[in-house]
């Protein structure tokens, strides 16, 4: 019964979303504020209804109600409770429900936001957001209903793909979805601005926190997905340039560009049309990602089921929203008042370069991901575009961007001074070069990429900290003056310094992968495998039984520099509940931020076992860096100017040096 009510709640949510989509626009047209504000309670109700529906589905999973088709197909009564719960979104229908739930959550948050959004903007945004919700609710109700019943109910379920029976499923998809869907709000803001025909710094300030939220979650979601693939697939790789990964990387690149371009718009009232376009493109790329993953065009662990009618439906949604918004953009954008031009050498000029490189990098990923599909559609030839392509296109665009980043970060608004900036950064440049030379000398004969990359990372970190330090200490003297400057510096200054330092940390982690080693051997108990300072000794191989699997465990002793450093267990699992599907659970042991990674291969007839041993120096920095980036973003959101989204006050007379006015005196960002 509960399940039927939940199904009904979905339909109700669809009806209310239609109200949220139509009424506010009508109200704005008629200048009827009461009518325009109908979107707010509607958005909140849609969220509550969808939360209820999602809760019911999760409950059905928790109690293993196999009369629900979705549960029967994707769960099993012997599965541990945590995987029953996370299995709610480990399938197509459930994950789409999570998608609209998060979309409704963002709608409700916009409706509830304390910030004084202009009424027209809020109404338009909620309506645009609702249009996306309507499309996805229709999609769920007509092609992917999670509440279909089975009669008679099967006695036991099919179980979940064992690769998904992991804590990663609890973390990665929700984070990623909040990121993907979060950009629907910036999209909705852009549509509202286009319809309204007005866009200014208030718009930029209203949009920026939402962009940051979406960006933070997307950053964390991608990073956790990467870590999950790293430990679960047993191949020791952290990024495969798989089309599904690229599908999440593209909105991230566009979103990163968007965060930076809204700064220019907010501070300098410029780059408006580009920012609007970027907001549209970012969410379009999110939609494209959903299409690629959900339609069965690509095959991967993310594609739970392939059903042509679903693919077609999502393709229609895709064309409607991307095509529609771009058409609206082409029609309305020329009416937006353009901001002024500015000097190429300046903070805003640097941010344009940032956008340029990010957009170009995004375009290369786009081509590399879609070209094979297009080629196959047109000529039937099947090609694969793999890491060599992306290494040859993406990296050459990313490296200059990273090299220029610190310069942009410490350049002044309006009129920068390249030489002066270089002088300010002299210390950071020196530290970076010293790090490169030092590491190169100590690892002489090793790969050259590692010291160069680490030098770049060190340069990024030290310049971010140096720049922050200079802003705090500056010309101030005495502890009190420094303290007051430190307190007075906007949080977003700390946020951006932290985020940029996080980029540096990730770069170091990536560069260090050049030192990673991989060894393969067939081992018997007692055998030893050595690489450099690390050695493992296979102690025993034994079978073990888990709740819904059998596994063969290899226990190894790790020795570093001849000293015992504990045990590692690698297993090969066979899921009895799932056609005897096998998975490899790698044994990973962490030393500081470096890891030793051991995975089992095939068992030979004579009882020996294939073993891969990887050493991964500094590997964890890749993900730690992305956590720091996310933290930096979070710190930026707490900046006080986002709490009250009113136009910045005119400059206070006792502001710092400079007298040219402008919307904000702060050099920070």
């Amino acid at each position: 019964m509960l399940v039927e009510i939940a199904h009904f709640a979905l339909a109700m949510a669809l009806g209310l979303s239609l109200v949220q989509m139509v009424i506010p626009v009508w109200g704005v047209r008629r200048n009827d504020i009461a009518l325009a504000r109908v979107g707010e309670p509607a958005a909140i109700s849609v969220f509550v209804l969808l939360l209820f529906a999602f809760g019911v589905l999760m409950y059905a999973y928790a109690v293993s109600d196999f009369s629900v088709q979705n549960v029967a197909e994707n769960s099993h009564s012997a599965k541990p409770m945590i995987y029953k719960l996370t299995g709610t979104w480990g399938n197509h229908e459930g994950s789409m429900l999570l998608w609209v739930l998060i979309m409704a959550l963002f709608g409700a948050l916009v409706a509830l936001a304390r910030t004084s959004l202009p009424d027209r903007l809020r109404a338009g945004t909620l309506a645009a957001q609702a249009s996306v919700t309507v499309a996805f609710l229709l999609f769920i109700l007509f092609t992917s209903n999670p509440f279909n019943r089975l009669d008679p109910a099967p006695p036991e379920g099919n179980d979940l793909n064992p690769l998904l029976q992991d804590l990663g499923l609890a973390i990665h998809p929700p984070l990623l979805y909040v990121g993907y869907v979060g950009f629907s709000i910036t999209y909705a803001f852009a549509i509202a601005a286009l319809i309204d025909g007005r866009i200014d710094a208030v718009w930029a300030r209203a949009v920026r926190p939402w962009t940051l939220v979406a960006w933070i979650f997307l950053t964390l979601g991608i990073s956790m997905g990467s870590y999950w693939a790293y430990y679960e697939l047993g191949w020791g790789g952290w990024w495969f340039w798989d089309p599904v990964e690229n599908a999440s990387l593209m909105p991230w690149l566009a979103g990163t560009a968007l965060i930076h371009s809204t700064i220019v718009m907010e501070k300098r009232d410029s780059l408006k049309v580009w920012t609007i376009l970027l907001a549209i493109l970012t969410f379009s790329l999110s939609l494209l990602g959903t299409f690629l993953v959900r339609s069965g065009v690509l095959t991967s662990v993310h594609t739970f089921a392939t059903d042509p009618s679903r693919g077609l439906f999502i393709l229609i949604i895709l064309m409607l929203f991307i095509g529609g918004s771009l058409a609206l953009f082409a029609w309305r954008a020329p009416m937006l008042r353009q901001g002024g031009l500015f000097a190429p050498v300046s903070r805003e000029g640097a941010l344009v370069i940032n956008n340029l490189f990010l957009a170009a990098a995004c375009a290369t990923v786009f081509i590399g991901t879609l070209y094979p599909l297009a080629l196959e559609g047109l000529t039937g030839a099947k090609i694969s575009v793999g890491p060599p392509f992306f290494n040859a296109t993406f990296l050459p665009l990313l490296i200059p961007l990273l090299l220029l980043l610190p310069f942009g970060q410490s350049m002044a608004w309006k009129r920068g001074d390249l030489l002066g900036t270089a002088q300010r950064l002299a210390v950071a440049i020196g530290i970076g070069i010293l790090a490169t030379i030092g590491i190169f000398a100590t690892t002489y004969g090793g790969p050259v990429a590692a010291p160069l990359g680490i030098g770049l990372g060190v340069f990024l970190i030290s310049s971010a900290l140096w720049d922050l330090g200079e802003r705090i200490i500056g010309r101030a003297s005495g502890a009190r003056a420094i303290w007051s400057r430190a307190v007075g510096l906007p949080r977003s200054a700390y946020g951006s310094a932290l985020a940029h330092a996080g980029v540096g940390v990730t770069v170091i982690g990536i560069a260090a992968t050049a030192w990673a080693t991989e060894d393969i051997a067939v081992m018997k108990p007692g055998d030893r495998m050595t690489n450099g300072r690390t050695a493992i000794v296979l102690q025993q191989v034994f079978p073990r039984t888990g709740p819904n699997f059998r596994e063969l465990v290899g226990r190894f002793r790790i020795e570093i520099d001849g000293k015992e450093r504990g045990d590692i267990e690698s297993t090969k699992r066979t899921f009895i509940t799932r056609n005897n599907m096998q998975t490899t659970e790698a044994g990973i042991r962490t030393f500081g931020v470096s890891q030793v990674y051991v995975s089992l291969g095939e068992i030979q007839p004579d009882g020996s076992v294939g073993v891969r041993m990887y050493t991964k120096p500094l590997m964890l920095l890749i993900w730690i860096g992305s956590l720091i980036m996310g933290l930096g973003g979070a710190l930026s959101i707490t900046d006080r100017r986002f709490r009250v989204a009113t136009p910045a006050k005119a400059r206070s007379p006792k502001g710092p040096q400079g007298s040219t006015g402008g919307p904000s005196p702060q050099p920070a960002e």
């Binding site: 662990v301 190429p344 375009a363 392509f389 050459p396 090969k572 291969g601």
Partner: protein
């Protein structure tokens, strides 16, 4: 700088970066793209030795021979077979009679020397290229006894 010069500088730098990006893409397209072929393609299109490509099909029943870390097997589309050799640990779901995609270089004697055998994610999953190539040969059967939708 005058207004005109500023505009030129900005447009010029945009053009430069985009041109570099386009150049990189074209360059990489020429060198780093790998084609996919089924066994019948390999024989009929008489692909030259030394060519790098992805070979996909079914692992022929009874063809897998292991010698230490080296495995030889045949990839078939029920029409033609191509012998493959691979050194390393095979993915979990490598089995006789199941679909497989390998990437490597065709040797002079017709042996395909693979340097990677692609991991699959699910026991029902059939690489799409393999499914298509089997369909072309008329040997396609919908995968698995438990369709997921």
């Amino acid at each position: 700088m005058t207004r005109k010069q500023r505009r030129l500088a900005i447009i010029g730098s945009c053009g430069l970066v985009l041109a570099v990006a386009a150049g990189l893409v074209l360059f990489a397209m020429r060198d780093s793209i790998v084609f996919f072929h089924g066994p019948t393609d390999v024989v009929e299109k008489s692909i030259q030795a030394g060519t790098r490509f992805r070979l996909g099909g079914l692992v022929k029943e009874g063809s897998v021979v292991r010698q230490g870390q080296t495995v030889t097997f045949e990839v078939t589309d029920m029409n033609r077979n191509i012998p493959v050799t691979y050194t390393g640990i095979l993915p979990d779901l490598f089995r006789e009679g199941q679909g497989v995609v390998t990437e490597g270089v065709l040797q002079a004697g017709g042996l395909f020397k693979a340097d990677s055998v692609l991991a699959r994610h699910d026991e029902n999953y059939m690489p799409r290229e393999v499914a298509d190539s089997l369909k072309k040969q008329g040997h396609w059967q919908p995968p698995g006894s438990k369709p997921q939708s």
